[in-house]
């Protein structure tokens, strides 16, 4: 009886999670969600190239990410509330580079960190106005916060304007 109950709980729990594999994809890592979980971004291995994959969870459809065919490996993606902004780290030659994609305009902008800092991991604030960066500086990993000037805030529907 106890075993049956445990099995039922396990089945119910299993039903609560969704996986997002697809044919031809290898390892999937580094997930991030939009504000209400509508969008999922992760780093997937496509034939040895580690690149971003953005999925609309309700349909399982992969959404296009224009301009991101280069600069692999990609890593540490982070989405704003509606998924308008996508920050991540790409490789530029021998150096990692933080970049921001505005999915509304299609504009991809490098995020210029102060000198002697290399980005290791990113986290974008839900409204897209601030960015936390784990930077490698003089052999040490530090946490630094930055303001992203000139970006329109990305707010949930119905939220008061700042």
């Amino acid at each position: 009886m106890r075993r049956a109950l445990l099995l039922l709980v396990l089945v119910l729990l299993a039903g609560c999670s969704q996986r997002y594999s697809a044919p031809g994809l290898g390892d999937q890592e580094d997930p991030a969600l939009s504000g209400n979980g509508r969008l999922l971004v992760s780093v997937v291995d496509r034939g040895g190239r580690r690149s971003l994959r953005l999925v609309e969870r309700s349909t399982g459809r992969e959404l296009p990410l224009p301009g991101l065919r280069q600069g692999q490996p990609h890593r540490s993606p982070s989405l704003s509330w509606t998924g308008r902004y996508l920050a991540f780290i790409r490789q530029r030659g021998t150096r990692p580079e933080a970049v921001l994609l505005d999915r509304l305009s299609g504009r991809l902008q490098p995020l210029a960190l102060p000198n002697d800092r290399l980005p290791e991991r990113l986290s974008l604030a839900p409204d897209g106005q601030q960015l936390a960066v784990q930077v490698l500086r003089r052999g040490q990993l530090d946490l630094e916060l930055f303001r992203l000037p000139g970006l329109e805030p990305d707010l949930p529907a119905g939220a008061p304007l700042p």
Binding site: Q18, E29, P149
Partner: protein, 159 residues
């Protein structure tokens, strides 16, 4: 005139190449700075969580409130015998998801900062969690899991 125009054009092109120039939060960054490695940052609307070196050398999860400009306690979350691996916070800063290693196991937890309560989250089928990400509304959780030698990503509801 031609020289001026070409100089201006050059400046415009250069500024385009430089991209968005980030502005450091100077007063905050000096307070976040710790001797030792800081890892796994995650931003809330008014704060940040990350994994920082603790006083006794072990790592621990920390919360910094941007509104007050001060760190805040996370009672019941950090254990001296546990090694935090990945951490993520929702927009309100009330829910924190954590992957940590304890007693040779790797576990996935959800911490409620308002209640100071820790809840283990079970992976079915079993797997080894690595990185975790909460949605900003705190209702969904994405986790990178190792199963059978492969990395997978799955999303679960956390009501």
């Amino acid at each position: 005139m031609r020289l001026l125009a070409s100089t201006l054009l050059g400046l415009v092109l250069l500024s385009g190449c430089q991209g968005l120039r980030l502005q450091p939060l100077m007063g905050v960054n000096t307070r976040l700075s710790t001797p030792g490695d800081d890892r796994s940052p995650s931003m809330a609307r008014q704060g940040v969580v990350w994994i920082a070196p603790g006083p006794a050398g072990q790592h621990q999860v920390r919360w910094f409130d941007l509104a007050s400009g001060m760190g805040g306690p996370l009672p019941g979350l950090n254990r001296p015998d546990a090694q935090p691996i990945s951490v993520s916070v929702d927009a309100k800063g009330s829910r924190i998801a954590l992957v940590r290693s304890l007693d040779g196991r790797t576990e996935l937890l959800l911490y409620n900062r308002n209640l100071a309560s820790v809840r283990p989250l079970m992976l079915v089928p079993a797997g080894v969690p690595a990185r975790v990400a909460l949605s900003a509304d705190g209702q969904q959780l994405a986790v990178q899991v190792s199963r059978g030698g492969r990395w997978e990503v799955e999303v679960m509801r956390v009501p």
